[in-house]
């Protein structure tokens, strides 16, 4: 199961990465597809990040200040928005999380 998964997911990722590099050499992309694809990173990253932050347990939504992950992520988000620095974002986010957890004990 795991090995099948590795090869299938590996093949899918390689195919997605190669897709237009291989095909597009001769063809133009349909404009609607081009426009839709441009929004994929923001849409998918949001769909991955938001549930990891706002749910404190499976099905348990928490949008208040008691959710330390939410507060830490907001701080890290502002840092990322302003400075566009991955390492700084991770550092600030983790320190904020540890600090908030320590304060709330």
């Amino acid at each position: 199961m795991i090995w099948a998964l590795i090869f299938i997911v590996g093949a899918i990722n390689f195919a997605a990465r190669l897709s237009f590099i291989a095909l597009f050499a001769r063809r133009e992309m349909p404009p609607l597809l081009a426009r839709a694809l441009r929004h994929v990173p923001a849409a998918m990253l949001t769909a991955i990040v938001v549930p990891a932050i706002v749910f404190v347990a499976p099905g348990a939504l928490s949008l208040d200040a008691g959710n330390v992950k939410l507060i830490a992520a907001l701080v890290a988000g502002v840092v990322a928005w302003r400075w566009r620095n991955t390492l700084l974002t991770i550092g600030v986010g983790m320190v904020a999380l540890w600090l908030l957890q320590w304060l709330m004990r």
Binding site: I2, W3, A4, L5, I6, I8, V9, G10, I12, N13, F14, A16, R17, L18, S19, F20, I21, A22, L23, F24, A25, M29, P31, A34, R35, A36, L37, R38, H39, V40, P41, A42, A43, M44, L45, T46, A47, I48, V49, V50, P51, A52, V54, G59, A72, A73, A76, G77, A80, W81, R84, N85, T86, L87, T89, I90, G93, M94, L97, W98
Partner: protein, 241 residues
């Protein structure tokens, strides 16, 4: 193979990528830890990083595998997450037309969020294709190597790191680091708001299908936003389409 290789540009690309790998290390460690806790052997966990080479796909595969989701659902989720590579691929394609097939395959294999972000401007601005491709491959090679080292660290050290450190929080932070700067654009804010609301509202869907549906809702909202605001507001990000 020599025709597209410039040694100084390769080294320059590798050197420019080094600071970025520091941010990738904790993410790679989490992927190693995640694969092991999902029941993968150390060899399989490393093979996953070597072959898949995508943090988002790997962490989602590991989470779904641990949750006992069927293979088809895991594959579908990874497919949707990999859709963003279509966009990077499309953005790179016009510049790679004159490049021969083996180099195109190599560039495709090494195409990641970080490699794309650090080299697309160079492709756009410099006409020296040989140097650009070498620069990209240099950076990509460093990323790939750092990813393997981080995965091995995760496989070895995963059991030692105390759960109270909440190391898994590094994963949303890594994605946040890419996501938040996109929000300087108006259309991206609408995409974000739509996908965020949908991800929360649809959370009860089985087998984390909410992730796919929320992503698609965000994409549709983005296309509609383009219609309303006109393309000029967002045309900056993407060259060549």
């Amino acid at each position: 193979m020599r025709t597209h290789f410039s040694r100084p540009a390769f080294i320059e690309g590798a050197r420019d990528m080094l600071p970025m790998t520091v941010g990738l290390i904790p993410f790679g460690i989490v992927c190693g830890v995640g694969a092991i806790s999902a029941g993968a052997s150390p060899v399989a966990a490393l093979a996953m990083s070597m072959i898949v080479f995508s943090g988002a796909a790997q962490i989602i595969a590991a989470q779904l595998l641990a949750a006992g989701a069927p293979l088809a659902v895991i594959v579908l989720s990874c497919f949707v997450v990999s859709l963003r590579f279509l966009m990077y691929s499309a953005a790179m394609a016009p510049y790679l037309k004159p490049v021969d097939q083996r180099w195109r395959h190599l560039v495709a294999f090494l195409l990641t969020d970080q490699a794309f972000a650090s080299s697309i401007r160079r492709f756009r601005e410099s006409p020296d294709l040989r140097a650009n491709v070498s620069y990209f491959v240099g950076g990509g090679a460093v990323l790939w190597l750092a990813w393997q080292i981080a995965t091995i660290a995760g496989i070895l050290a995963g059991a030692v790191i105390p759960p109270s450190w909440q190391l898994e929080f590094v994963v949303p932070l890594c994605f946040l680091a890419i996501l938040a700067p996109l929000l300087h654009e108006r259309a991206a804010v609408i995409v974000f708001a739509t996908a965020a609301v949908a991800a929360i509202a649809l959370d009860a869907m089985p087998m984390r299908l909410s992730m796919i549906c929320a992503g698609l809702a965000g994409i549709v909202a983005g296309v509609v936003a383009d219609r309303i605001f006109g393309r000029s507001a967002t045309a900056e990000v993407e060259p060549g389409n």
